[in-house]
Symmetry: none
Subunit: 137 residues, 4 copies
DNA sequence: GTGGTCTAGACCACT
DNA sequence: GTGGTCTAGACCACA
């Protein structure tokens, strides 16, 4: 995971997304222990408060669970993979925004579609146990 | 155009997006005069400064042009439709974020693809003169 | 004289400058009669109020004089060519601003100097009677 | 930096220019942290919003970068020193205006040239590390 | 009438 | 602490 300090996205959101990405890719499996807030902060060169906020966000979304005195773990699949229609709505809205912006940047629909396929391919929605290398994250 | 006062997006960004959407849909044509800052503010129940900020943002993106003492107008297509690769990169990144979130919400790739098609259809990249009713905005 | 309706400069200032330019170039001589406000407005496709404001500005600077019932005339040289140190100060300040901006645009000093020479050449500070064609103004 | 509250230039533009000047003179170096919006506002006796607007303008020009929650910093030279021909055109136009006004104030070309040399000397396009005192600002 | 600038003061997100 | 957003209301320049 890399934090882009010049990104318009807040650091903590980048952490949230990065961890989700790792889980989607199967790098992290349910039950795996995450780095502690301090370790993660050290690795990413962020303020521990920032990492803490990210963990809290993930926990509120049910993605991870914190066990006092033990650490933070990736929660079970069932717990996270429920379909919140409200959030689905937001997602659709975000996609709509992208389509409008794309139109302004001369990015065609087929191009968007190919991006979509390409990204999905890259993430590899593999929910099986095959881990991917994460050396450069 | 409706401003969602509970949205996490700033009002002025919603205005920016809304106007872009109207232009993409052909409701606004190049050369058309937008509502004045005050009128728009009144219609949307926003502070004129907020609308002004949106207009300035759109102007800096080349979407509209303001003529002092006259008003604000939709600029010519040629002027806005250049392809800024940096912004295209951002767009792709945003799409990536969506794919990850989708995976989390149990939204499948085919579903995303169908959304994409559906949204594009709805906007209808019609660059001809046929205006669409704006009732459904 | 051409009014650039997309220029950041106000129309009336462009008119002021344009007339001064014509006088500097010798197209207008002391005593010459200017177009009436209405004629000038018609020629330049401007609102008469705008031209009127330009004329008033020029008159307050002593560049032209208005004779009631007769029209507006270029004033005598002596009257206009006095050296107002306050305005000279402003001029110097404006030049300073240009130098700073130039530095930001990678425009070197020699380049600025050559521009200066070139522009002066173009205007041709000819105070003799030789008129220049003004067809394209 | 001094804000002239009687100047025809907007405050925020004066701030923009003043900061650029400081950078050109080497008082501010790439990476240096600017005063916070509130501090600068306090020092200049302006409203924070006005300073904020200046900072945003500078950021949009690539002169400075803001890091959320951290502050505002002078950006790297490479990032800002690209040559935008459109802006160069504006610069030339501004110089032209000055030449015309100069002619009206009996300021000769040689005098303008000496001003130019003098100003450049004063700013001293020193890109080395030698800071200048800012007492005379 | 138009948009542009400025102020004062509030609240929020981020570090 | 930082900057970002929003409001309310004032004044000005321009057409």
């Amino acid at each position: 995971m890399i934090i882009n300090k010049n990104s318009p996205y807040p650091f903590y959101e980048q952490v949230v997304l990065g961890i989700k990405e790792d889980i989607v890719q199967g790098i992290f499996q349910p039950g795996d222990k995450l780095l502690s807030v301090r370790e993660m902060a050290s690795v990413l060169m962020l303020n521990p408060n920032t990492v803490s906020k990210a963990y809290k966000t993930l926990e509120s979304e049910g993605v991870i669970v914190t066990v006092r005195g033990k650490g933070t773990f990736v929660s079970d699949k069932q717990q996270r993979h429920y379909r919140n229609e409200q959030q689905v709505g937001k997602l659709k809205e975000a996609l709509e925004k992208i389509v409008i912006e794309a139109s302004y940047l001369n990015v065609s629909l087929p191009e968007l579609q190919s991006w979509l396929a390409e990204i999905s391919e890259g993430l590899g929605g593999n929910s099986d146990g095959s881990k991917k290398s994460s050396e450069d994250n």
